[in-house]
Amino acid sequence: MVPIQYLLGLSAVLFTIGAMGVLIRRNAIIIFMSIELMLNAGNLAFITYARSHQSMDGQIFVFFVMAVAAAEVAVGLGLIVAIFRSKKSIDVDQMNVLGG
């Protein structure tokens, strides 16, 4: 069996990559992908602990997260399409009209 530290380490690496992607990249689609990456890093951590504790709770959680992520993708992509229609761009730095 793969030691738990490895799995958690992978999860942490994936999460860090996702977080960096959200902070650094300006393309909305890429940011979106990075968010998915972070969600799945979380899923991996759930699965890891569920397995180590011999409990189904974490696995159930993962299903929920995946379902909510799917819904989120649908809404998020709709938003991005709408933004593109008005701005002719999906660069998030162009969308700063709320700035004080």
């Binding site: 902070l23 650094i24 730095d93 700063n96 709320l98 700035g99 004080g100």
Partner: protein, 706 residues
Amino acid sequence: MLLSEVVSSGPQFFYLVPLVVVFPLIGLLVNLVFGGRMSEKAIGIVGSVAVGLSFLVSVLLAFSLIDPHQGETVTILPWITIADLNINWSFNVDTLSVTMMLVVSGVGALIHIYSIGYMHDDVRFQGDPSRYQRFFVFMNLFIVMMMILVSADNYMMLFVGWEGVGLCSYLLIGFWYDKGKDGIGNAVAGRKAFITNRIGDFGFILAAFIMFWVFGTFEFNAVFEQAPEVAAVFPAAIAAITLLMVVGVTGKSAQIPLFVWLPDAMAGPTPVSALIHAATMVTAGVYLIVRSAPLFSLVPDVQYFVAILGAATAFFAATIAVAQFDIKKVLAYSTISQLGFMVSAAGMGAFVAAEFHLVTHAFFKALLFLSAGSTILGLEHAHHHLEHDAHLDEKAKEELHNFDPQDMRIMGGMNKRMKITFWVFLIGALALAGIPPMAGFWSKDEILADLAQPNPIAFWLLIAAAFLTAFYMGRQVLMVWFGKSRSLPAGAAHESPAVITVPLILLAALSVLGGIINLPTLHTFTHWLEESLGHMHAVEFAFWIAALTTISSITAILLAWYLYYRRYQKLQELPAADRPDDPLRPVLGPVFTLLENKYWVDEIYWTVFLNPFVSLAHFLADTVDWRFWHDWFHDKVITAGYNALSGLLAVQIDLGIIDGAANKIAEWVTTAAAKWRRIETGYVRNYALSIFVGVVLILGFLVLWR
């Protein structure tokens, strides 16, 4: 059915008793509502018939009481019901109240008839015929109130009548309220009567309070039943009640010290003086004492005091009457004096004698006032005709201009010109002087006989008063009717019409015959009243008293004849400048001036009571109220304090603290917002970074510190 059958079969008419009040009330309402569209004659007839019907009911009640004398109480309505206090509108029919009803409605009806003629002329001389209606409304209202007073079966209902007659007295004294001295003299006289009576009423009210406190009821019978028990344990209460009642009596019946209003009350029209201020209302005080006989009988000390008070008033007023020149003022002081006789008798327990004198006095004093009114009217008529006579010289016009139809000094020699009025006046004067066999002789004699033993002081005061009474009546008769006419109108006066003279003749007949209701040895009236008052000891006719009073009266009349017939005639021949206006003036000297000015009682009251009171009122109004409360307290303290407080609230609190706080907070918010807005860049990634940093910090805190 014959009258004798009615009497013997003894029908009971007691249920009719409310009608004695209702009939005058109807008359008053008819005259009040429709009087404006009725002729003078119709108004007068309605008023007179209303009182006449009331008299008829009183007669029926009297018949019901003949056999047996037992009366009844007729209750119509509950009036006041508070806890255990129950006061009803209920009429007490007994021999005493029916006697009063007969006098009030009988004399009242005659005076109403007289007024039809008298007021017809009076309203024209005074220049306002529209007040004819008002006069009869007031007169009927007076009869209503007087009937309530005498027929009440409790002290509260009696008090309603007591106040009601006071109101009518006030209204009728000030009937010509725009006439008199300075155009307000009559109004001032009315006010004086009202206020003086209020002082007396105050005593009555206090008596009623104590009565309720002690007895818990106002009903005559209930109070009188409990009175002996209360007197045994708490005699001071009975003494207080009776003494305070006497305060009320001194006001209403014009006794010392509250008699001052009655002479001024002569400002009212003459029928008012006759009805209210001689025959009926002023006797209400005597009635109150007689009605409260069971209470007074329990406190001999109070009785003694009341007897002396009445006798002193009788003597005091009689001395003043000797030196008055106004024909009605003489009669007014005579009334005070005669009321003194009654109060003295009632005080000493001679209740029957007091009531007897009340009845006969109502006859002859009403007669005297009404015939004086007829005299005044005759003079005014003559004056009126003379004024329109073009042939008079300047001196005569001057005399007519200063004409006062009530001044006895300008009368004289009128016995040939107004024969009927002269004869009835003479009869009234003889009855008042107590010459047998007139009514006044019997009643006065009974009072004196009752007082001779128990109270010699009062007895001799009253003998002296009786002497003076005969003297001043002799003086009045001789000054008004005999000798030569002392002015043009007196020589031209004419007799009054029949509507005036017929009531006078009827009253004259009553003044002659009134004595037969209680002749010595028969004691009809004593037995009649015994049913109401309890057993009365009838004092037998004392020949020496009758002889004494008759001789003293005749002496007084002879003295008056000498002074006012013989001396007065001689004085007339002197030149006007050094001619005294009264033959008694040179004899008595300063004493006459003292009497003429009524012992300056009014002036003394002004100095002792009224001026300090007025000064106090001025002080309270000007200094305390205006200067202190208004100028200082109101302007300085309240206004200034309010201004300071509102200034403080407006400037310091509102502008400073409340507005300041709001403005300061807004300023801080603006300043802070200007600084903090910089972090709101609008870049999504900045927000995401801050979220990350926040999450890291929270997690770090949770991991490292917990």
